[in-house]
């Protein structure tokens, strides 16, 4: 359910309607970012990564949290007895 993919916000195209262009792997699309502006003002969204679902950004991706999740697993890897 709910295909949502992290894409990077690269340009605000219409501030009044909260429209921005996002990019992933060279593919671009204009999406609505109105649901993000309570988290960050429009001008600070550029460069941020957001989950896009059906043409709407539904949430920002916190890169520090992503690193932390990966670090937890790396710790498990390190704790393993060498085989």
């Amino acid at each position: 359910m709910c295909l949502g993919i992290p894409t990077q916000i690269i340009e605000i195209t219409n501030a009044d309607s909260a429209l921005a262009v996002v990019e992933l792997g060279g593919v671009r699309r204009e999406v609505n970012v109105a649901l993000l502006v309570e988290e960050l003002p429009l001008d600070q969204l550029i460069g941020q990564w957001a989950i896009v679902h059906a043409g709407f950004a539904i949430g920002l991706v916190d890169e520090d949290e992503a690193q932390q999740t990966l670090a937890t697993i790396s710790d498990w890897e390190r704790e393993e007895p060498a085989s």
């Binding site: 993919i5 593919v27 699309r29």
Partner: protein, 364 residues
Amino acid sequence: MASELSKETLTSAKQNEKKKDLITLAHGSGGAAMAGLINNILKPIFNNSWLNEGEDQARINMADLLADLAPSDQNRLAITTDSYVINPIEFPGGDIGKLAACGTLNDLAVGGAIPRFLSVSFILEEGLPVERLAKMAHSIQQVAEQEGVAVVTGDTKVVPRGAADGLFVNTTGVGIIPSQRSLGCRYIQPGDALIVNGQVGNHGAAIADVRDGLGFTSILKSDCASLNNLIQSVLHQFSSVRCIRDATRGGVAAVANEFAQVSECDLELWEAELPLHDSVKAICELLGFDPLHLANEGNALWVVDSSEKDAVLAQLLSHPLGRNARIIGEAKAAKSKPRVTAKNALGTSRIIDLPVGELLPRIC
């Protein structure tokens, strides 16, 4: 008043002229308009002695058919035909003309044939700019010229506005399979290597990008290309190629399933080895597609005896149309019903079925 009048006359003259530039039902009626279209537009583009004879059929000497091949009873004639409908007619990396020429030449070449002649039929929608038709004919001729093939016969029909989508093209290709060549999916053996000569899914993803107004843009181009030269360069040197098939509609998944069915071998694809453009990966993530289901127009699945797989791969890599070639799997003895599987980087496998109907973008 006078100047207004002349303005009006001018406008209507311009409109008339513009009208002349559009395909009308008259162009299909067998009269002067049709003769004009064929003689003034199409014949000069395809220009060759067989076509210029102006008979109802192209008359080809056996010697022309064989060209530099030594006559042998074992040489075989190869004939293939395909119709091309695509929206939009012009797309990143090609157009319907290039597609119609490359597609049919590829269908000849993948069977080991050396393409010789093409026929071209156009079904034109009333209102199509003549210029557009000429452009598509030029695209066909450009490919034909590059591959040393002549367009020797053809046809045009016009249908009322709405009865076709701009223009449809049918091409038939004729070629010769030299006596020593014998390619076919029935020759696939367990242990054979599966190779693609290019990135997977570029055409399908590029078209999905621009079609249907889904609103995506990318740098992606269709891989539309004639594989003839690439294929001849390999078949010239290696006899270990079991079969080749261009992975058009239904993508690599469809060809692999056809191969599995006929050869009664399992085909195992290695997902991590698939050469994928970043934008194809992205389109697949965003719209929920499987790259194995996306169409290719200049990429084929090759099955090669494992003893020569590295040499064949090296030859492919040395050609501009094979520079992304990769060994992407192998044939295995089927345990029960033959099937196609994809093994991922984790070492687990999933079944690769034919796509169910048209590819639809999904949100969930």
